[in-house]
């Protein structure tokens, strides 16, 4: 099967039987249901050892998006992750059983977890001991010890130009509005409005930013770096 993506200036190498990453220290391959835009960078296939999506595509990384420092994709068979262009996935951990959508120009820092599934108390039965035991029994019976969804997944949406600090956790069902900032270590369980800055435990809005990331500002930024 021919590659399903457009290889341009990228460190991903087509080699007939899956795809490799140049200078990869881990002896793995990229799954075949990953679609990459131009100029995508992936530092290692180590981040894909738990990628079990059976969707077409299971992961889309837009133009010039980078997955650095062992960014890991823990994706179940029904999971689908899409990421826009010019987004920095720096050592993050995406746990997706159904749907995680990340916009363009987002900056996501190390240790941050984005998940659409946890044992929520508001999903009837999901947090009962018996339901939890069933999840672990299913994992033990799976040859790769794949964990099934911990409860009914609720999709997560991260808007364009969002900045998430290190070790933050973005919980199921959350939408992060365009341009917002999540401070390090925040555990986000509720939607964040566009251009809000949140911090603390539990997180609170500490500031509102000016929405100055206009189309003109974007164009000027591209021009500045010769990408017009």
């Amino acid at each position: 099967m021919s590659p399903s993506w457009d290889l341009h200036v990228s460190n991903v190498l087509a080699d007939g039987d899956g795809h490799r990453v140049a200078h990869d220290w881990f002896p793995g391959r990229l799954p075949s249901n990953v679609i990459l835009g131009r100029d995508v960078y992936i530092d290692t296939t180590y981040g894909f050892t738990t990628f079990a999506s059976e969707q077409q595509p299971g992961l889309v990384l837009g133009d010039a998006t980078g997955a650095y420092d062992r960014a890991s994709f823990v994706v179940g068979p029904r999971g689908r992750v899409t990421v826009g262009a010019y987004t920095v996935l720096n050592g993050i951990y995406i746990v997706c059983q159904e749907r995680v959508e990340i916009g363009s120009h987002a900056l996501l820092a190390w240790g941050a977890v984005i998940t659409d599934s946890w044992c929520a108390g508001d999903v009837p039965g999901a947090a009962t001991i018996e339901a939890r035991r069933a999840v672990l029994r299913a994992a033990a019976a799976h040859p790769d010890r794949q964990l099934p969804a911990l409860d009914v997944p609720r999709p997560v949406t991260i808007g364009d130009n969002v900045w998430v600090g290190f070790d933050a956790v973005i919980m199921p069902g959350v939408t992060l509005g365009r341009g917002c900032v999540v401070a390090s270590k925040c555990v986000v369980t509720e939607d964040v409005p566009p251009y809000a800055v949140i911090a603390g435990s539990p997180p609170r809005i500490v500031r509102m930013l000016e929405a100055d990331d206009t189309p003109a500002a974007r164009q000027a930024a591209f021009a500045r770096y010769g990408r017009a």
């Binding site: 099967m1 399903s4 993506w5 457009d6 039987d17 899956g18 220290w25 881990f26 002896p27 793995g28 391959r29 799954p31 075949s32 679609i35 990459l36 835009g37 131009r38 180590y46 050892t49 738990t50 059976e54 077409q56 595509p57 889309v60 837009g62 133009d63 890991s72 823990v74 262009a85 951990y93 746990v95 240790g111 977890v113 998940t115 946890w118 044992c119 108390g121 947090a127 001991i129 939890r132 035991r133 999840v135 672990l136 029994r137 994992a139 033990a140 040859p143 790769d144 010890r145 964990l147 911990l150 070790d167 933050a168 956790v169 919980m171 270590k185 925040c186 555990v187 435990s201 539990p202």
Partner: protein
């Protein structure tokens, strides 16, 4: 970028790649990316697996007693098993530990059917004394020129995680804590005190929340 193809496609067969391997004391793992071995004094029940011997990079238990003892069907994935010289880490049947760090100076006990998620740290000590003069001495004992066997005393209190406990991403469980059976520790929590059985805690410091 190319648009996702909406038409049905067959998924090409992936090269088969066992992602976990039985834990066998003293053994290497075939195809392991890390050139290590499972330590000799590990005692693992049947069906207990690990993804790589990298999990044992900070395994310092050198005594005759087991530094890690697991029940059956335990899954250790990208998890740092770090018992100090005479420390013991015990993990009960069917527990699943993914991308966590278990750092023990004396003892960490994890019950059966626990789920411990990514970024979690469980530690039974602070690993350094609190008092400035003692810390100064510790820095010398730990130095390349020092003697690690004669470090100043520090506060060590074993951790117990009882059966059926789930611990969410990036949570921290500190020394002396007992997490009661069936409790849920929400992601990002910093647990400094005991957690009642069947309860759900959240925040820093972790406090009970309604389920």
């Amino acid at each position: 970028m190319s648009a996702p193809d909406p038409s049905p496609m067959t998924i090409p067969s992936q090269p088969s790649q066992a992602r976990v391997h039985p834990i066998v004391a003293g053994a290497t793992i075939p195809g392991d990316w890390y050139p290590g071995r499972v330590p000799e004094n590990v005692v693992a029940g049947s069906g207990s697996v690990v993804d790589s011997t990298f999990c044992f990079k900070h395994y310092y238990a050198t005594g005759a007693a087991a530094g890690l003892r697991t029940g059956v069907d335990v899954t250790l994935w990208r998890t740092s098993i770090a018992p100090d010289r005479d420390a013991v880490i015990e993990i009960g049947d069917g527990s699943y530990i993914a991308n966590a760090s278990l750092v023990a100076s004396e003892r960490i006990t994890i019950g059966a059917r626990c789920l411990i998620a990514g970024g979690v740290t469980i530690a039974d000590a602070d690993f350094h004394p609190l008092e400035p003069a003692a810390r100064l001495a510790d820095s010398i004992a730990l130095s390349p020129a020092g003697d690690r066997t004669s470090r100043p005393p520090m506060d060590i209190r074993p951790v117990v995680i009882e059966d059926d406990v789930w611990i969410g991403w990036n949570a921290t469980i500190l020394k002396g804590v007992r997490v009661g059976a069936g409790a849920i520790v929400e992601p990002g929590s910093v647990v400094t005190r005991d957690v009642a059985a069947g309860s759900r805690v959240s925040g820093n410091p972790a406090r009970p929340v309604s389920p």
